[in-house]
Amino acid sequence: MSLLPVFRWLGATALGVAINRSTYGFAIIEMVHLLGLSLLGGSVLIIDLCALGWIRLRQPAARIASDLTPLLLGSLAALVVSGILLVADGPLRYYANAAFRAKMLLLGVAVAFYFTLHRRALAGAPTARKAAAILALTLWFAVALAGRAIGLL
């Protein structure tokens, strides 16, 4: 099943048309996306650098992770909503873009990993904790890299 009809529909919605017609709409949404990126990046870095022992706080990494979860989820929500709006500006530009497809795939893997295996590994043995942190940092970095590449392809 192709997702093409969903992309076409998104571009044809009132919101998609409005963003596409507005002069500053895309730019403003892009700024929100960047601010969300800083907050998500900040929380992920603190959590995983704690897990690696490169940031030493009083509490264990698992506690720090649960403490930062609201910020992580909030910034992720801001990123997803602003991201959908960016796509709504011109869905067909993104549908066929290889970097966009790679980013969506990597994002799915990163989110799924972060809230399941990664969560469990943080409370586990040091080796598992560190391996999970390295894998998580690599995955999020790959998401960001693929995101940057969308505009270059």
């Binding site: 990046g41 900040g42 870095l45 706080l57 403490d67 940057r148």
Partner: protein
């Protein structure tokens, strides 16, 4: 004076080679965004602790001691890549309104941080473990969040002012 210096900077071999290459600007810009994420992301966490919104069980001094070295790393990456981006389009940047506003905001954010460290943070031992930090500390944290958000917004806006 400054305009002439920017003009001269734009004519240097470093500037023209970044400008004429297909990839260098994009690569440096990507490094810049990563530096911004590292710096602004870590600053935001410290600010949110000062506002008492997260890491409440963690003493303020332990948060600043553990996290601020990473902020400095981010600053170095951001400043170096930012300097290269500036060199590559110095003459245009000089005339760019968003760039001018961003420069002023950067100085303001720097002064806010300097003032915070020189004054409010000196007395941290008195309120280190309290989830409720003194009003001046909260004010500095809120100002820092506003300034850095505006810096990110202006930074993105530079590209729209050409």
């Amino acid at each position: 004076m400054v305009a002439q210096w920017c003009q001269w900077l734009s004519s240097t071999p470093l500037s023209t080679s970044i400008r004429q290459s297909d990839w260098w600007f994009s690569i440096i810009e990507s490094v810049h965004v990563l530096g911004v994420t590292l710096m602004v992301g870590t600053i935001a966490i410290v600010d949110l602790r000062l506002l008492g919104w997260l890491l409440k069980r963690e003493p303020v001094s332990s948060v600043t001691r553990a996290i601020l070295p990473w902020t400095w790393c981010g600053l170095v990456v951001m400043a170096l890549s930012g300097a290269l981006l500036f060199v590559s389009e110095a003459a245009d940047a000089y005339r760019n309104t968003a760039f001018r506003i961003k420069s002023v905001l950067l100085v303001a954010a720097g002064l806010n941080a300097l003032l915070f460290h020189r004054t409010i943070l000196r007395s941290v031992s008195a309120w280190d473990r309290s989830p409720f930090t003194p009003v001046p500390a909260r004010r500095a944290a809120a100002l820092s969040l506003v300034l850095w958000s505006a810096i990110v917004v202006c930074g993105r806006a530079i590209a729209y002012f050409h």
